[in-house]
């Protein structure tokens, strides 16, 4: 088991290395000179040359990559052009809202989608099944920001139940934090619910005709236990896989949702960085989100043994 985890961890290194090369080349493809941007408008050419030397920009490109990689691995992501701060500091500052939103959304999506999917499969062709299938097509099609504004309009403006926008740090009280996370998570979970409910339905349907389901029923097991202990447990692997893949959709959604709800997280930081052409920050955020995506899918792979003991490594 441990050997497998180590092997899988090692296998992610080439992928991340390619991501790093792509992200690094992206910065070098930019038409602007980072040294000139950092130096500012009033700098003379000696000052620019001095900064260029300090950043190692006068070195050949492969040397620059090695320097940059070494710094990145030590957690030094450079200085933001726009915010005039260390990028690492900037990211740590914006991490809490994004992580809160993402965790909340995944929990919400799993809690809603898995039961819906199981029930839809149990009553295949029934009205619930049709609603779930229809909703899942709709969930893929309606853009995140349209859902966001619809929810704001109904729950915040018309009904006045929840705050319209904004974020409150966890340190300032759990109530306010929760209250401001409800609408954004609801918004973001729609796509995930569509994705997870659909896969849950398909994979539960597949196992419902297995012999062990018939056996479980024959020995007098209640339908609820048949569904959970026998059907869902055996259908778990594809469901967990899709949750891992859904993280990509989640990250894309985070960027939009944070803009709709003006949450000062990593997504909002990305948009601001792109608008300001703040390349060190753009690089860092892309690298970080990709690493998160790769690692979450690694964890998903490892949990397969837990959900299906037949899988041995």
């Amino acid at each position: 088991m441990l050997a497998y985890v180590m092997r899988r961890l090692a296998a992610t290194i080439p992928v991340m290395l390619i991501v790093a090369v792509l992200v690094f080349l992206m910065l070098r493809l930019t038409p602007s000179d980072p040294a000139a941007i950092i130096a500012g408008d009033n700098a003379n050419s000696e000052q620019v040359a001095e900064i260029r030397k300090r950043l190692g920009l006068d070195q050949p490109i492969h040397t620059q990559f090695v320097i940059w990689m070494g710094k990145t691995l030590q957690g030094d992501l450079g200085e933001s052009f726009f915010f005039k701060k260390q990028v690492t500091e900037l990211i740590l500052d914006r991490l809490e809202p994004t992580v809160s939103l993402a965790v909340f959304t995944i929990l919400l999506a799993v809690m809603v989608a898995v039961p819906l999917g199981v029930l839809a499969a149990y009553r295949q062709g029934g009205w619930l099944d049709r609603i779930v299938m229809g909703f899942s097509v709709l969930g893929f099609s309606v853009p995140v920001f349209v859902i966001g504004y619809m929810l704001i309009y109904v729950f915040a403006i018309q009904l006045n139940w929840l705050p319209v926008q904004g974020y409150q740090r966890l340190g300032q009280g759990v109530g306010g934090w929760l209250q401001r996370l409800i609408l954004p998570s609801l918004t973001l979970s729609v796509v995930l619910i569509a994705l997870i409910a659909r896969i849950t339905r398909t994979s539960v349907l597949e196992v419902m005709n297995e012999d062990y389901i018939r056996t479980a029923r024959a020995k007098g097991q209640t339908e609820g236990r048949v569904l959970i202990r026998h059907a869902l447990a055996n259908a778990a692997v594809p469901i967990v896989t899709v949750i891992g893949l859904g993280v990509a959709a989640l990250i894309g959604g985070v960027v939009v949702t944070e803009s709709v709800y003006t949450i000062p997280g990593l997504g909002r930081l990305t948009v601001d960085a792109v608008l300001a052409r703040d390349y060190p920050t753009i690089q860092a955020v892309i690298l970080l989100f990709s690493l998160a995506y790769v690692l979450i899918n690694l964890i998903v792979d490892i949990t397969y043994t837990f959900f299906d003991p037949r899988i041995r490594y």
Binding site: V142, V146, Y153, Y293
Partner: protein
């Protein structure tokens, strides 16, 4: 051997084993019919935009800013005639007619969707064929594609957009790049399974040159899955374009696209929600219709793939 020479029962069976025509199967599929109808309607709307009671989508009118849907206004035409114009969907904060912008917006969205789908499929097909057929290139190309796939699509698109001045071409390239690896993977997997088929081995045995082999035997097998994939790419491209424009990093704001209209309506959303709702509804309908079309095409054209999903 002619059909008369066959035993009677075999000759009788022959017509029954023929598959119904592809066109008829498509027309019978409700998803295809509904999806295609809505897409055709939207395409027609974009095409005939000037004739659908619209005014110029970029005409700014400071007096008529932020009007609710249904507001009326008198327009004086060039020949001096006056006419009543109703702002069906209201106006935005620059006094532009939201209805006209939404109708013209269909053009931009559909053009971007189709262009992105065509380019990603063409480039992905070329790379996928080569990677699937030339063994030593396969590893290099696929590791590169894995790297691209590890970057979430919207982030990659945002990164690419940041490299150049905002514009239609930059946005199209930014959306194409994240889609290419998905097409490459699909094409490569088809090539890998097709190259083991007896008829391909037979073709190799009789000395068919590799390019002819790829075009005559491998390419036709990729057609159905690529049409399906292209349809889904079209839908997701329209969504990503709207997201980029909505965030203010897509197509320049004066161009009427659904994302831009919504971006414009953000600041005054509490008072004038129509700027977000009308384009939002059209956008959702367009993507929904394209996804339905894709689902239906997949079920009819590519049943093997449909089973896998």
């Amino acid at each position: 051997m002619s059909i008369e020479a066959l035993p009677a029962e075999v000759a009788e069976l022959a017509p029954a084993t023929r598959r119904p025509g592809m066109a008829r199967m498509l027309v019978r599929n409700p998803s295809v019919v509904i999806g295609a109808t809505i897409v055709a309607f939207l395409a027609l709307m974009g095409l005939l935009a000037p004739m659908l009671g619209t005014i110029s989508p970029s005409e700014i009118n400071p007096v008529f800013r932020n009007k609710k849907p249904g507001a009326e206004r008198t327009i004086r035409a060039d020949d001096g005639k006056e006419m009543q114009f109703v702002h069906r969907f209201g106006t935005d904060s620059l006094g532009r007619d939201v209805y006209s912008r939404v109708v013209y917006g269909a053009r931009v969205s559909l053009i971007i969707g189709v262009t992105v789908a065509a380019i990603s499929v063409a480039v992905g097909l070329a790379i996928g064929l080569v990677a699937g057929y030339i063994r030593w290139l396969d590893g290099i190309v696929m590791r590169f594609m894995d790297g691209l796939m590890a970057i979430p699509a919207i982030l990659l698109a945002m990164g690419v957009v940041s490299l150049s001045r905002a514009g239609v071409v930059a946005v199209v390239i930014a959306i194409v790049i994240p889609e290419i690896p998905r097409v490459v993977r699909l094409v490569r997997s088809i090539v890998l399974s097709i190259r083991e088929e007896p008829y391909v081995e037979a073709a190799i045995t009789v000395g068919t040159p590799t390019p002819t082999l790829l075009v005559r035997h491998v390419l036709p097998n990729t057609l159905a899955p690529l049409i399906v994939q292209g349809t889904f790419i079209c839908g997701s491209a329209i969504l990503i374009e709207a997201v980029l424009s909505f965030l203010g990093i897509g197509i320049p704001p004066e161009t009427p696209t659904w994302g831009n209209i919504m971006a414009e309506g953000r600041s005054l959303f509490r008072i004038f929600p129509h700027n977000i709702f009308y384009p939002g509804v059209f956008l959702a309908f367009a993507v929904l219709a394209i996804n339905m079309l894709g689902d239906g095409l997949r079920d009819t054209l590519d049943p093997r793939f449909a089973k896998r999903v």
